[in-house]
């Protein structure tokens, strides 16, 4: 099975991949560089189905510290993976899940209101959700085996395979 792309398809997928990767990588680095950052503020605002879970995290300083750590370095790892095309599918799926969790914590559903004003006007769908879906699309239309470090890995594996076949 193979996926073939026209040049323009490939170019658009690459642009989407680099932009999403850039955004996620900066979300992570900005948090890592800010000693005051904690997911506390975000989790306090949590509503809908994950609010109970968020409360549990907040009430538990140890758990909060772990969540903060995973968030910061998870975002950085995902961002690097997306841009460099390294373990790309894992990165894209992990990113989609993580960002979908962000969405679930504060979805713009009817009847749920937030203290902080959101960016733009949203009804059910917001940019967070779109980014999560975009990452799923990127994972399905993977470009990292051409433009990514994954290409080197798969080449390497292929070479070993063919050598094994020969011997």
């Amino acid at each position: 099975m193979r996926q073939t792309f026209t040049k323009s398809q490939l170019a658009s997928l690459l642009v989407l991949r680099f932009f999403a990767g850039w955004h996620i990588l900066y979300e992570g680095t900005a948090k890592a560089l800010n000693p005051q950052w904690s997911s506390l503020g975000f989790l306090q605002e949590s509503q809908w189905i994950l609010s109970g879970f968020s409360e549990w995290i907040i009430s538990n300083p140890g758990v909060l510290a772990v969540v903060d750590f995973l968030n910061v370095y998870g975002l950085i790892a995902i961002g690097l993976g997306l841009i460099a095309g390294l373990f790309f599918k894992v990165a894209a799926i992990a990113g989609a899940i993580l960002i979908f969790i962000y969405y679930l914590n504060s979805p713009p559903l009817i009847g749920i209101e937030y203290v902080l004003p959101s960016e733009g006007h949203n009804l059910i769908i917001n940019r967070t959700l779109i980014e999560a879906v975009a990452l799923v699309v990127l994972a399905l239309f993977s470009t990292s085996n051409i433009f990514g470090l994954d290409a080197l890995i798969s080449n390497h594996n292929k070479k070993e395979e063919s050598e094994n076949e020969r011997s």
């Binding site: 005051q36 950052w37 300083p61 095309g85 990514g148």
Partner: protein, 546 residues
């Protein structure tokens, strides 16, 4: 990849698991390197690297911009040379003699104070253990104290206190001595006992004055909950008794132990706010419990206690006689026979918070207004209360506004000509757009008056000039507990600790009798202004209220 194949010139093929043939074609190509991968493939595989390079470049640029701006603001404000006091909390060993403490009044607050001293009820220990937050309490510094006496007019409270004092699961572990705990029927018996070194008073307010005087005369060190005392006469007696006896007195205004206040004081010393002329402080509550309706349990049934289990005459003390009332027993804050309502419960803390920062002392004049507008249950106290305290010699007004019928947050703000400071669980300073001191910096864009110029979050342990939008967001949140050296610490524990350290090693506690006198007099003035509906003045020469 078939880049050399004309047919597929415009196609890019991604080899998947079964694309071995494609790879073999590639492998046989002329440009294949030693590794069997073509240079072209390698170059393409590294496509993300320049993007990462660009990202890194932009990140550094942004970082430098932020840091330079922050540094410029910090320098402009003279904060680069600022030293904050370093706490020795967690490193200190409390040696010397064991301090034997008696608690007078073992209600809800008495129980909290015992916990802050390092004593908890076995049931509570179990509950916290199950919740998983017992360790934080066990890590509290061991203060080398023992609760050896409990006195309360209500049997149930006394028994509860005895169980707490006797529990041996506590900070200090096995080293903590286990002394017998004595039950006293009357507080004077406790004061007469030579085996008690110090007392904690946590009774309703109408006992504070007399008990403090008696304890001082008996030579016991005193930690007394606010209010200091309800009347001017008691204030004077108390002040003289404590001064003459030389005992260590600490008023239970624990807010001063919050590191925030030490930092706020340092920031104000730097004249960052300019001339301060107005301070606004508020209380905002909107629940029955918050309005001191506390005689019913969660199901709406009366809480325990009867004439058989409560020594009603001792509870009344010098207050006018009234038949036994379980409602008065629990809701004493509502009645002027025992308390001064919002003034003695909440204003006193607010006043202390500001007094610790600005050292205001006794105001020249006080006016109060308000009324019972929401909780019309026969209470004496106002549920909406506004107090104006004037300090003409400081060119300053302190404004207090308390509401028990709306929980809308109104901050605690110190307003100066150049900037204002809001103090909650963190500190936020905003430059004033019409500031003289910052006029140039505002014009040049270095300082943005619409956003906090400085924030201090004890959790982060540093002063920051806030420059980015996302940081601004966290600045408005603030952490919910006081942090010392990266540890969450209970402020009442710190306040008791300071008192105990002063008893052992000498020194002056934060809210000693001089400061307590000023704060107590300010409260008495506010109460009289409300009750007598007039402007109440302080005669600084005769040292009395006129």
């Amino acid at each position: 990849m078939n880049d050399h194949n004309d047919k597929n010139r415009n196609k890019n093929t991604i080899p998947e698991k079964n694309a071995g043939n494609e790879m073999n074609v590639q492998g046989k190509s002329d440009k294949t390197g030693k590794s069997g991968i073509s240079r072209r493939t390698v170059v393409k595989a590294l496509a993300g690297i320049p993007v990462l390079g660009l990202f890194g470049h932009q990140l550094l640029k942004k970082r430098n911009y932020d840091l330079e701006k922050r540094e410029a603001v910090v320098k402009k404000l003279g904060l680069d040379t600022m030293d904050f006091p370093v706490s020795d909390y967690g490193t200190r060993r409390h040696g010397g003699d064991l301090l034997r403490v008696g608690i007078i009044g073992y209600g809800a607050r008495g129980n909290q104070l015992a916990r802050s001293l390092g004593f908890m009820h076995p049931d509570e220990v179990k509950r916290r253990h199950e919740l998983g937050d017992l360790d934080e309490w066990l890590e509290q510094e061991y203060l080398n104290v023992a609760i050896t006496g409990i006195c309360d007019v209500f049997d149930m409270h006394t028994e509860n206190g005895m169980a707490v004092a006797q529990n041996d699961i506590r900070p200090g572990g096995q080293d903590a001595p286990k002394l017998p705990v004595k039950r006293y029927g009357h507080y004077r018996e406790m004061l007469d006992d030579k085996d008690i070194d110090a007392v904690i008073i946590a009774t309703p307010d109408h006992h504070h004055g007399q008990m403090t005087v008696d304890a001082a005369k008996a030579g016991k060190h005193i930690y007394c909950e606010k209010t200091v005392a309800n009347t001017e006469k008691e204030m004077n007696e108390l002040y003289n008794a404590v001064k003459e006896s030389g005992v260590v007195y600490q008023l239970g205004h624990q807010i001063t132990q919050n590191v925030i206040y030490q930092q706020a004081r340092e920031l104000i010393k730097r004249d960052i706010l300019g001339k301060i002329t107005l301070v606004q402080t508020t209380s905002n509550r909107n629940t029955a419990h918050g309005a001191w309706i506390r005689h019913l349990d969660g199901q709406g049934n009366p809480k325990p206690g009867s004439e058989q289990t409560i020594d009603w005459m001792q509870w009344l003390g010098k207050a006018p006689y009234t038949p036994f009332s379980i409602e008065r027993f629990y809701n004493w804050t509502l009645y002027f026979d025992y308390a001064t309502g919002l003034i003695g419960q909440l204003f006193t803390h607010e006043f202390d918070a500001i007094n610790q920062i600005l050292r205001l002392g006794i105001p020249k004049t006080v006016t109060s207004s308000g009324g019972t507008y929401f909780w019309k249950d026969g209470r004496d106290m106002a549920d909406l209360l506004h107090i104006v305290l004037e300090y003409p010699n400081r060119d300053l007004t302190l404004l207090y506004s308390g509401s028990l019928a709306s929980s809308r947050g109104r901050g605690r703000v110190i307003m100066g000509h150049d900037a204002s400071m809001e103090i909650g669980n963190n500190i936020m300073i905003n430059a004033d757009r019409n500031s003289t001191q910052y006029q140039e910096a505002i014009q040049s864009g270095l300082i943005d008056p619409s956003a906090p110029m400085i924030t201090y979050n004890p959790g982060a342990g540093q002063v920051d000039a806030v420059t980015s939008a996302s940081e601004r967001y966290y600045a408005t949140r603030g952490l919910t507990t006081t942090t010392i050296n990266g540890r969450r610490v209970d402020v009442t524990h710190l306040h008791l600790r300071e008192w105990i350290n002063c008893i052992r090693d000498g020194g002056v506690p934060s809210v000693n009798v001089d400061i307590a006198f000023d704060e107590g007099i300010a409260c008495v003035m506010a109460q009289r202004a409300y009750v007598e509906k007039r402007v109440v003045e302080w005669d600084d020469v005769a040292r009395k209220i006129v």
